[in-house]
């Protein structure tokens, strides 16, 4: 079982590590890089707790052999906040009580980020579709959907002023 060296860009930083054949992106993040926000709820692609962004698109990290994504860009929950400043999704999940046990939160937030990055003005149906691969056993989903919509609204409001600041 010869191991290989794999390089990934994780949360903006190049990361190099040694990996055994067939190691999943999820195991690589958790075991090799100690990025444990992404969870292993099923290892079958059916629970969504391992959702991360691969080149900006949400994927189940448990279904990706890490060798097949060498050199590509990965975003995990650990990279979401800018220092101490939380991402609007994180703020809204706190404010609207969208977490209970917290085990699905990482995957939920990353699936939602994948949506908002591409569609800043989602409908409720868009949000439902975006998180339809993520299981939550505690909340009944309603607070999570509300939190994603709340974050989208906040980001939309903030966007013009951000543009102005950039000018």
């Amino acid at each position: 079982m010869p191991s290989t060296i794999v390089t990934l860009k994780v949360n903006g930083r190049a990361q190099e590590f040694l990996t055994r054949p067939g190691t999943t992106l999820l195991d690589a993040l958790r075991d090799s890089l100690s990025l444990t926000a992404s969870k292993k709820g099923c290892a079958q692609g059916t629970c969504g707790t391992c959702t991360v962004l691969l080149d900006g698109k949400p994927v189940f990290a448990c279904l990706v052999p890490v060798e097949t994504v060498a050199g590509r860009s990965i975003e995990t929950l650990e990279g979401l906040a800018a220092g101490d400043v939380l991402h609007p999704l994180q703020e809204s999940f706190i404010a609207l009580f969208a977490t209970q046990c917290g085990f699905c939160s990482s995957g939920m937030i990353m699936a939602a980020k994948g949506l908002l990055d591409r569609n800043p003005d989602p409908s409720r149906a868009d949000v439902v579709r975006a998180i339809s691969g993520n299981v939550c056993r505690c909340t009944g989903y309603e607070a999570i959907i509300d939190a994603v919509l709340d974050a989208a609204a906040k980001m939309k409001k903030a966007a013009p002023s951000r543009r102005k600041a950039a000018e």
Binding site: T36, G41, T49, T99, C101, R137
Partner: protein, 459 residues
Amino acid sequence: MQDLEQIDTSFFSAEREAELDVVGTTVPRVDARAHVTGKTQFYEDVSFPGMLHLKMARSTRHHALLKKVDTSAAAKVPGFVRALTHKDVPNNWYTILRLIGVEPNDEPVLPEDRVLFAGEQIVAILAETAEAAGEAAAKVKIDYKDLPAVFDVEEALKPGTPAIKPHGKNHFVYEGHHCRRIRFGDVDKAFAQADHVIEHRYQSAPIEHAPTETTGCIVKPEGDGRFTIHSNTQACYFTLDNAALIVGLPFNKLRVKGGTVGGGFGGKVDVIVEPIAILAAMLTQRPVKYAYSREEEMQVSSPRAAERIYIKDGIMKDGRIIARKVTLYVDAGAYSRHSPYGTTKAAAHMPGPYSIPNVWVDAHCVYTNRTPSSAMRGFGVTIGDFALESQMDRIARLLKMDPIELRMLNAYRDGDMKAHRKKAEGCALVEVMQKAAEMTGRNLPERFRKMSSLNKEGV
């Protein structure tokens, strides 16, 4: 929060008086920020150098004798470290209810000569990686001799059905009785006086807690003779006490560190993974991880029991229920776990939140060759409520009565004697129905609007 429900203070206003500053207010969850930044530490987020992985070779049969268990092929898998069988377990009985005096012990930690359900753990394999442990476990060769299996609770109790349990009966014995009984009044006399007698059967199928985080633990030998158990148990001391009895260590050699659990719902009270993982750590002096796969969580971890419930009611034309006879079967599966206790809880819950003068309950805790069931949110009550409240709907339709009014007429009130002979207090069934009626735009007649859990007015 956008749509936080109202707290309707018009009910029980005299009893609600209290000056509170913090309790009763919405304060943010103390764990939310760590959850949304990924900093919350679940048990599986710790790992230790040299950690071994434990996987089980499991029964593929529902009921069988173990003729031969051969681990030689498993031992050839690269990364294999060792196998554990029942011979390695100092006190080979799960004891979850022993501590509160429930006997007999009926579930071996690892089976000695027979398996009672498909999925039962037989041989524990320790290996350097989870993959190696899984592959080695798949290579454990087990020769079975199949025995007749029983899957239906009433079938299990029939004379002539082979006993699957060592104590010779397919049911738990409650202080000499074949079931947990409630006897209150005289149901037969009341049935004879009733205007209507109806009987119906209700049934449920096993339900999984399905927490997003599967059950598991990591045990670390500390070098001073003690072991730290990183676990997602719902009950740290329960786990510690039971595990110590099984592995034969003094209680103070174990330390359980729990934390935030990725969903429990009653499924993480069984103490199945910790004892064997501790034992593995004792025998290897290395950290050991035993985590259920999703498949194991779904099919091997205890579900909510299936129940079969017969309800026979004696009813008067005016809506009063004068007798209720309940025969209830809890499908405990192969082993007791918490089911004898849940069955008692189910019996105590009958006849529901109603004052019925004659009540008879036989609640059976029955063994079958399926995955042992155990506690789950609403333990002993959830399925009973489905049966009771379906039955109430049937009664209302039979009498052509409004279903709310029927329930309010029979609702228990402060001071009523319940069937298990405890005086009711703090009742509020009448009021939640009044509130639900109001919320759904239903105008109750004055007689029902004036009803109260505090007195018998309108009954």
